[in-house]
């Protein structure tokens, strides 16, 4: 059974999705979704412990040995990622019940959970597969499910946001598959590990360079790297709350992983960072993401949209870590995958609680929330502190490693900019604090039901508590990220 773990990770949610459609029952579908998400987390943890210490698990689909058949190849990098995705899923799925009941029409519930299961299967598939084309297929599975999930939002603008994301996401996927196609043309294989072994023998480097460019742009669209982030704010702002939390914590992270995998395990660090100015480009775009998106976030009128722009900025920190091309930088980037997933997941979960009570998500609607929903508001403040990078939260751990990585390269000005970016985060988090704590509540709201229901509050606070816990005890997260960085820098997969 233990040898089947890599495929079970993907197949369990994949089978659950059609089962939910056949059940045609919202509650039954939700129960199934809970079981699937928790099973995924258990499997992911099992895989992580299996590959701890530089291990590698290879699984041949259909018993066709790689590189002929499709191979699932798990090392500390993608096991770490599978843990992030399934951990978020396991928490969010509990929260979904109430939130979805309020925000999605009853007759769509079973379809909603089915799409959620498909999205989970797709994301985990991207993480575990070792086959270029298979990766593209899972990209499409997760993205198509995502478009539907976003379009189910209560706001009518959700449909437009989903459509925008569909266009941008499809362009991204097309670029990705063109890149993979070019690599297939030059190496004759789709197996990524085999591809990496054959790439040095390719005599004509131009198609390979084109493939690198296509994959970089395609995946950057998916991970919302500035300036390819335009689909993200609306998609996050108008999707159902639980969907926003799930996507913000997983979808972009998985795309970052794909970029890492192609840069370090397929093309190789030398080809990408030494022979080409990829590092400088990534550095410039990351810093632009941090500053432009943070400033734009400050001027948002809608709090959900503000945190969506903050996501673009935080993704900038992740790619900033990658751009250093050093062990510390990569560790910072990978640990921020985990830390940002926790922080943003928690924040959007808490905002979902507010969405139940407030008419809209404008700052005017949040007046006096500190008194009406004290636990929710305090949670958002703690999450905000983590976005800023205050010591004692996970955000600090990531920022600290980013600064150390910058100083290692003697780049004082980058270290300075990272700190300056945190001040911008302080500015936008402060806007929430001001609205929630320094204004009297609307009398109409004050008569309302108050705090969010427990089934939503507990998962959200679990993630906030994890934000603080992993900010103090960094052994698990940093250990995993450090090991993943080592594996990536070794180059061989």
């Amino acid at each position: 059974m233990i040898t089947q773990l890599p495929i079970l990770q993907v197949v369990i949610p994949l089978i659950a999705a059609p089962l939910m459609v056949l059940l045609r029952h919202g509650t039954a579908a939700w129960l199934l979704a809970v079981g699937v998400s928790w099973a995924s987390l258990a499997i992911a943890l099992g895989l992580l412990s299996e590959v701890a210490g530089g291990g590698l698990v290879s699984y041949a689909l259909g018993s066709w040995p790689p590189p002929w058949g499709i191979e699932y190849r798990v090392d500390s990098v993608n096991a770490y990622l599978a843990v992030i995705v399934s951990m978020v899923a396991a928490v969010v799925v509990v929260y979904m019940r109430r939130s979805v009941a309020e925000e999605v029409p009853q007759e769509h519930h079973y379809l909603f959970y089915s799409m959620y299961a498909l999205c989970l299967a797709g994301l985990l598939g991207i993480a575990l597969t070792g086959d270029g084309f298979n990766m593209f297929v899972f990209f499409e599975i997760s993205s198509l499910a995502t478009y539907v999930l976003i379009a189910l939002g209560r706001d009518r603008r959700a449909l437009m946001a989903a459509y925008q994301y569909l266009i941008m996401g499809t362009i991204g996927a097309t670029f990705f598959v063109i890149g993979v196609g070019l690599l297939y043309l030059m190496t004759g294989t789709l197996n990524l590990a085999d591809m990496a072994a054959r790439l040095p023998d390719v005599t004509d480097p131009r198609p390979v360079l084109a493939a690198l460019a296509f994959i970089t742009v395609g995946v950057s669209l998916k991970l919302a790297l500035f300036p390819l982030h335009l689909w993200l704010p609306n998609a996050y702002a108008y999707a159902p709350s639980a969907v926003t939390a799930f996507l913000a914590a997983t979808a972009t992270k998985v795309s970052v992983y794909v970029l890492l995998r192609f840069y370090f395990s397929v093309f190789g660090e030398t080809a990408v960072f030494r022979a080409l100015p990829t590092g400088s480009i990534l550095l410039a775009l990351s810093l632009a993401a941090v500053f432009v998106a943070s400033v734009v976030a400050i001027f948002q009128g809608n709090v959900k949209r503000m945190f969506a722009y903050s996501s673009v900025a935080q993704i900038g920190y992740i790619t900033l870590g990658v751009s250093f091309d050093s062990a510390t930088g990569l560790t910072a980037g990978i640990v921020h995958l985990f830390n940002h997933a926790l922080t943003k997941g928690a924040l959007f979960l808490l905002l979902g609680g507010i969405a139940l009570r407030a008419a809209a998500m404008r700052f005017d609607d949040l007046r006096g929330m500190g008194r009406l929903m004290p636990l929710t508001s305090f949670g958002i403040v703690l999450g905000g502190l983590s976005l800023i990078g205050v010591p004692g939260t996970v955000g600090f751990v990531s920022k600290w490693y980013l600064v150390v990585a910058a100083l290692e390269q003697g780049a004082w000005w980058i270290a300075f900019l990272v700190v300056a970016g945190s001040l911008l985060a302080l500015a936008y988090v402060w806007r929430f604090v001001e609205a929630a704590y320094f204004h009297a509540p609307d009398p109409k709201m004050a008569a309302g039901p108050g705090e969010a229901p427990l089934s939503m509050l507990v998962p959200a606070w679990l993630m906030i508590a994890a934000c603080v816990y992993f900010g103090l005890d960094t052994g698990l997260t940093l250990g995993g990220a450090g090991e993943a960085a080592q594996v990536l820098l070794k180059g061989k997969w």
Partner: protein, 144 residues
């Protein structure tokens, strides 16, 4: 279309051949061009043809919406279950070799059910798309 006697009679005869052709394409997929995807489209086309001649309500009576939705899911489920069957019989996921004592026969059996899954889902999705578009009330609808 109530008045076009020739169309109605021909359509009724054609239906049988279209469905039969779908099955031919399905089962001949092992040896020639064809397979579940093409067969699914042809089978769905037969129903769509029926809907065009006899009207959407008549087609909905033959293949109700619930059945269409179940088909979309059941095909995927069948496909995935073949994979799981391989696992239960001691192989890897989607391992056809273990589906029969003779590995070649096992491959044959595996792809047979996989293609059946593809047929069901593709036909279901085609019909779902058609129903969704055809079921939309249009502004210039004249009576019907």
């Amino acid at each position: 279309m109530r008045d076009f006697l020739v169309l109605r009679v021909v359509a009724k005869i054609m239906m049988a051949f279209m469905l039969l052709f779908a099955l031919y394409v399905q089962f001949h997929g092992d040896f020639g061009p064809g397979g579940g995807f093409q067969a699914g489209v042809i089978a769905a086309a037969a129903i769509i043809f029926y809907a065009i001649i006899f009207g959407l309500p008549a087609a909905r009576k033959v293949v109700p919406d619930r059945l269409v939705e179940a088909m979309v899911a059941a095909g995927v489920l069948l496909y995935a279950s073949v994979g799981v069957a391989g696992m239960l019989l001691g192989g890897n996921y989607l391992d056809y070799f273990v589906l029969h004592a003779d590995p070649v026969e096992g491959q044959h059996r595996g792809i047979f059910w996989i293609e059946a899954g593809v047929l069901i889902t593709v036909a279901g999705v085609m019909l779902k798309v058609f129903y969704l578009f055809a079921g939309r009330p249009s502004e210039d609808e004249d009576g019907q």
